[in-house]
Symmetry: C2
Subunit: 332 residues, 2 copies
């Protein structure tokens, strides 16, 4: 059985080029005791992957050169030498950008899709879902009536952040790139308003669309938008720092938020979060999110491409914004 | 009776020039019903005064052109038409840069110096004291064993922040300008170590003097030091934003902390504070601080100059650092 894999071979500077990847094919080896063979159906494409490519201290080890590129996956067990894992069991985990992976099962979670799409376990029932849930509820500490602003609002995390905030009775404004995405946020996901940062002047739009300021800002982008938002926050505002995608491909220094002294004036806080810290409570989050789906309060938001050979091209869509919601690649 | 006053007549750009002030002398008017006349002995000089000169939204109204310059004061009631305030009573309040002020008493606090120096009520028993106390305890949430770093550590707020952190069993490192101040912090105030930012390379010194990282950073300066500190914070670190004196006289944009994504990597928070928010608990703070003095655990740290005519020259020492601790001007 042939395993198509994508190896990480060179640390990029700025926007990654195709040449940093090596596509290889290898024979899947025999299983040893306790091992399982997983067929990875889908891989998750995440902005965080760009950070893992840098040889820098972070919340997780960088990917080493020559390794299969790290990626979240959902798949199915197709062989098992482990009595705890049956063939046919669906699992999610860190399978990487490869069609098959071998594990003792420790680093995989069993999932039970039932009538739900398997891809949802890379989205709202996966890491982006957990990030959104704990970020907006535990760190953003939203309460009914809060004015919540979210950037990359049409993205995998942002679109759930906004929907959860709506469920909790907040006024929700999303920032996204392009008229179509903004329309989608308001018409399909029920956001109260949206700002198209590609076609609107951000300071003016914040003034128009957040006339009563901002209580919670969930930030996925950093850069100029974060700086602009800082000028509009309310007393005791909470800024949740989830990412800074506008800065990930910088060749120069990250742009620091020049208006950060607004935190003082407004007694506001800016707090970073990493989803792994909430592991112990994932089950509660999964239950809530699944329930909201059943009640018709949530809508999926994902874009699925196909073919492991298209990995690089699809990966770049994270940064061009040429997709909506969770970006997924079907590889097997 | 002649009242020497300093009026604020022009909004400065960058470092204030002497020409923004107008020194005037006026006759003290007669008191009306309920009014008291206060002889202002000392005025407080604070970095925050620079912010009050800007015509910008902040935590307090800007000083209006033509007004007596705002300043905290301690003084003594020398005439009273108010049965609640007796002649001879010491008070602290917002008397401004003038030798006498008239009030109904509402905006003054009665103080009882006993054997304590009156100036302490502008320092550790005044706004700087309240700022340090609530900043490091309530916002910094220090606990025994924490590694606490404080900038402008030889200043009115910083020197108390460090002393309180020592009382609470923390390891305390101060950042100050010049060998003399650093020696003072360690030898006189009992800090564990000090960094002389004027003569040391900040990244190297942080590495050497905080080899186990930083749990709490109490920031009074902003700029490059904040940016450097962000690279050394520990998991769940708390950064208390109390001020950014390095940026107050900027003619260009404030320098934002380029390394702010360290907040994410380390699940750290950066929170602004304004001392007025803790009013309800001032009495608890005053009691604790007075007790620590009695127990010999605290040392005053102040520099007193004399003469209202020297106001401008003395005010600038806030920014040149040419003083130690609380900067005070005796004016009457």
């Amino acid at each position: 059985m042939i395993n198509k894999q994508v190896l990480f071979t060179k640390r990029p500077i700025g926007i990654p080029e195709d040449s940093i990847w090596k596509h290889v094919e290898s024979e899947v080896r025999d299983l040893q005791d306790n091992e399982i063979l997983i067929q990875n159906h889908y891989i998750s494409l995440d902005p965080a992957m760009r950070g893992w490519m840098n040889d820098a201290r972070s919340y997780i080890e960088p990917v080493q050169l020559g390794e299969v590129m790290r990626a979240g996956t959902v798949g199915e067990i197709i062989k098992s030498n482990n009595k705890d894992y049956k063939v046919g069991q669906f699992v999610s985990g860190w399978g990487g950008v490869q069609q098959y992976s071998i594990s003792t099962g420790d680093n995989y979670n069993k999932i039970y899709p039932g009538d739900m799409p398997l891809t949802r376990f890379l989205g709202y029932l996966g890491m982006p879902g957990m990030t959104a849930y704990f970020g907006i509820l535990q760190e953003g500490k939203i309460k009914e009536g809060d004015i919540v602003l979210v950037s990359a609002a049409a993205g995998a995390v942002g679109s759930l952040v906004g929907q959860i905030a709506k469920i909790k009775g907040c006024r929700v404004i999303g920032i996204a790139g392009g008229k179509e995405k903004c329309k989608f946020l308001v018409d399909e996901l029920g956001f109260d308003d949206a700002i198209d940062y590609k076609n609107e002047e951000i300071y003016t739009s914040l003034k128009d669309k957040c006339p009563n300021g901002i209580d919670v800002y969930f930030d996925n982008v950093g850069g100029e938008i974060l700086d602009a938002v800082l000028t509009k926050i309310n007393r005791n505002a909470r800024i949740v720092i989830c990412g800074a995608i506008s800065q990930y491909n910088n060749k120069t220094k990250v742009m620091g938020p020049s208006n950060y002294m607004s935190l003082l004036v407004n007694r506001a806080s800016m707090k970073g979060m990493v989803v792994f810290d909430y592991k112990e409570n994932y089950m509660k989050a999964l239950t809530d999110i699944a329930t909201w789906f059943k009640e018709g309060k949530l809508k999926d938001n994902e874009t699925v491409f196909e073919g492991i050979e298209n990995f690089h091209e699809v990966f770049l869509k994270l940064f061009t914004g040429d997709k909506s919601g969770k970006l997924i690649l079907k590889i097997n």
